[in-house]
Every structure is written in C-alpha cells, then in structure tokens.
Symmetry: C2
Subunit: 323 residues, 2 copies
Amino acid sequence: MVERTSLQNSPPTPHTLPRDILVVGSVALDDVETPFGRVEGALGGSATYFATAASFYAPVKLVGVVGDDFPPEHVEFLRRRQVDLAGLEVVEGGRTFRWRGRYEYDLNTAHTLDTQLNVFAEFSPKLPETYRRPGLLFLANIAPELQRAVLEQIERPALVALDTMNFWISSRRDALADVMRLVDVVLINEAEARQFADTYSLLGAARAILALGPKAVIIKKGEYGASMFTDGDHPGETYFFAPAYPLETVKDPTGAGDTFAGGFLGALAREPVLDANAFRRAIVHGSVMASFTVEDFSINRLRALTADEIERRFAEFQAFTRF
Amino acid sequence: MVERTSLQNSPPTPHTLPRDILVVGSVALDDVETPFGRVEGALGGSATYFATAASFYAPVKLVGVVGDDFPPEHVEFLRRRQVDLAGLEVVEGGRTFRWRGRYEYDLNTAHTLDTQLNVFAEFSPKLPETYRRPGLLFLANIAPELQRAVLEQIERPALVALDTMNFWISSRRDALADVMRLVDVVLINEAEARQFADTYSLLGAARAILALGPKAVIIKKGEYGASMFTDGDHPGETYFFAPAYPLETVKDPTGAGDTFAGGFLGALAREPVLDANAFRRAIVHGSVMASFTVEDFSINRLRALTADEIERRFAEFQAFTRF
C-alpha cells in the first residue's frame, strides 16, 4: 500500500525538475456542436487534453488506446508536443472511442448525443517499463478499478491526482471511494462532488472527500472558477479560490477540466516543493490553460499557444483578485 | 444633469470621513421558508438589509415607507444601529410591504409565493431637508422612475450606485437604462445582467452596461461570488473577482445582495479616495457582510455582529485568493 505525504511537509524531490508526468485516460474523436460552430472527428479525450496542456510545462507520458482509424496527424501533433506515446496502444481493426455532444448557450452542461466506446470498452492500462517511475501521475476519468490497477504497476510518485465522472459515482461509488483513499488530490466538478457526498454544500462535500485521505480536493465550477479545499480548521489556510478568465465568448468547453488538470500537474512538475503555495500557483496555471482551451474547438487553441501567452495570462489572474 | 467623475481620478473628498450614506428602498416584513427553518413577519426589505450592513461602517439615512402595523421593535433595532429614520414614512391605517418566499436546497433561487405591496405600491420618495447632501447614495431596487426622482432631489454625492431586478428589466427597460446613464456603479445579479443585455456572456453584458456610462458594473453571483468590470482594454486592470465565503450551511440567502451593497458602500464611505483599489477592498467588504447575513434568517446574524468579526473575515478573504 502506498503512503501519502503531508501537503505542508512534502520533502524536496530528489528528481531533477521538471518532473515527468504520467497520464492514463481516453484518447477520442469528438463530434461537437455549440452555438458557435461544430467539428467532426476532432482530437479529443481526457488524456489528450491533459497531455497537451501539461506538455507546456514538463515531459508527459501517455497511456491510452485507439483504433487503427486514428488519424496519423493527431499522433503527429502529440509527438510534436513531445508527448511520449510508448503507452498508446493501437488496436488493429478496432475503432477509436467516439463521443458526440452538444452545448446550448449555457455552456456549463454537455448534452451527450452518442457515445461509442469501441476499443476503449476493453481498455486495460499496460504500462511500458519506462513508465513505472513517474514524477507525477494523473488518473483521468476512467473506471476506478483501472485507476487502481495503474497505481499497482508503478513506484509511488511525488503526487497522484485523479478525476472522475457522474457515471462512476452512480455505478461504482465504493470502488471510487477506495481509489480516493490512495491519492493525494481529487479533482471533481461541483455537481459530481455534490452527488458523491450527497449534500448540496460544496464545503460539506469537500470535507467528506478529505476524510477519505486526500490532502486536497479541487472542485471545478466551469465559468465560476475552481476552489481548493485542504484539511484544517481555519478557512484562511484551508480554502483557495481561482476565478475563471473573463471571456466574451466560450466557443467549446469540451476538455476544460482535463486541460485544467494538465496545467495544474504541469505547474507542480516544475515546483521543487509541493507545498500549499505551490498548489495555489498550480491551480491558477490550471485556470490559465483551461481558459485557452475553451477559446476554440478541440485542442485547437493550444496548437499555436506560446509560453509568453501563458505567463501573460497568469499575471492577469494575479491582478483579478489582488486587493 | 449630473456629471460623473472618472474612477481613476476621483478627487479627494472635502467631506470628513466616513461619509454619510443615503439609501432609498423597501422596508418589509418577510415570511421565509428554507430547508433550514422558517420565519414569519421578519424584518426585511432592501433598504433594511442595506442600512443594517452599512451602519457598521458609516452613518446611514434611510428613505422608505411602512404601515402602522410595523412593529416598534424593528424601528428600535434600526435606531440602535444609528440609522437616521427621518425619511421613514409611516402611513396611518396602511399595511407594510409583505413578501412571502421559499428556497429549495439550491439556495440561489427565491420562489416568490406572495407579494403584498401594500403602502409600498404608492411609495414616492420624499427626502427630508437634512438628506439632500449625502456623501454616497444607494438606489435600492425600486422603480427606475423613482430612482431618478431621488437623484433630482439631491446635490450630487461622491458616488451613486443602483440595484434593480428582473421585474423592471422586463417592464421598464428604457427607464432603467436612462437611470443607469446617471449613476457611477450598477449592481446587478448575473441572471438580470444577461436579461438586460440579452446575451449569455457576463463580459458582454457588463460591457453593454458600461457603454451607458457607469464606471463600474458589479455582477453578483450568489454562492459563486461577485465580479467587477470597469472600462478599459486590459482584463488585468478592468476585472476584479471576489469569491463567496465558503460556508457549510446557508440558512437564508434573503437580503444577501442588499447586504453586499451595504458593505460595499459602507467601506467606500471610509475611503479618502474612490479609486480602483478602494473599489476592490469595498467589494470584499460587501462579500464579508453578505456572508454573515446568509448565516441566519432576516438580519439576525447582524444583530450581534462585531467589528472584530468583520475584520477577521476580511483577512480570511485575503488568504482565499493569495498566491
């Protein structure tokens, strides 16, 4: 069984910085329609969004599965982002996970029109030998049993974070709670947090998850930003909030949460000490990266993104809440 | 026609500090039911919540109307808070404005069960001579024509803010836009901002209101906090965000918006210069005061509130967003 270290007292890492980051999750082709346009067969999936965002900060290794219909230009894009694809399984004769969704003007809620799991239905993460000592690990939204199976294949990294979704909360709550007990950070959206803890209060929901063992719970609220709750009695020390970037138009919110996670773990990969201040800066980096992603469909806004743009927006976030 | 001064370059006030604050709005008796309890005939109304909150910061003068059924203990409470009631008209034989509402677990939306305007239906603000040179003015949620009538009875204060509601946006949009042209700050909740500007984008809605002339638009988002938009091209200078206080339980959100306005103008009443930094601190004071109000029904939490508690919570808010 793996041991967690305290948020306040994580030892300095022996690794060189930045740490490398392992992500396990979906790689998909998305058909998305919003009031601002539509795309067909666009690059999507939780591991894709995460890896693309995190690749601006640190080396990323990806574990996922696609069919042989997966377009070579998508592989090429991830390679150009320096993402290690040794763990991307290609199933001959199989079809890639395909998701079709629509958003109304209220872009907070995705309406799923069709889900074809295809090769993702039989996904069983197998980690190449070179993946087994990651600096940081992100368990994207997959079955809790698979998340656990990944943990059992690796040496304990400096930090493990997981995401999940309503489907697993409804169908596999106990298995999900068991994995939460093993991780350092739970990322979850607000409706899912309320569902998991069966309470309207986000503070109550966060406390219920913290009681399982994670040292931080990050509740994602879409256009309303993100809150971090850590253990303790004083709200001033245990609560942190980052607003969303004020955008005139959100073109496509798909992948915002996974991009947030990518910016968050990416920023942590560059921090010598994973303390509360590092977490706060990392949450703002998560918000920065998510704010770029939603400006265009798929990962398109990230294709031409520069480190300068990231730094400028980070500075703007500082100004948004300074008083 | 009154002139507005620029947010960046307001001249230092010649008044002694704190400035006094004039509020015009409703004084009501509320019957409220939430999942956490109920009250009957509790002290309510926009001017009441505002005046109670602002009275922790500065002298307040109130203009409103009640019937002769208005309980003496409510008058006594406002007097103890040093609120000047020379402008509170008591209609002999009349009944006080009565609102009956209910909230579900999602406390963001009030369900109005009954509204009896009573003496408030004929409300026509008449300002006593001693009220005509206020330091600051808050036009609470009343008909836009009445808000304008108040402006015509006074010497221009250092700052004028107004609030409104969906009813006036639907029925008197043009009159409302006309008053917005005359004020410095518009406070509005997010659904109303979207309705007023006919756009889902809060940034778009804020820009539409700024285009009318106000130097700041404050959009209240309930449990999601409050955003301030000011004119300009750089989000880092023109956007400010304050989260809501993370509470385990919100007992009754009634009056949160008016309490926010009370903390906001109250804090500004103590600022020598009304610049962007003063506005930011004032928004946090608004959030602080609103967070107390929702902890109990009616203005009950404010009855025993102390300056120390306000300062402590203000310091917590600083910690919530510092990185």
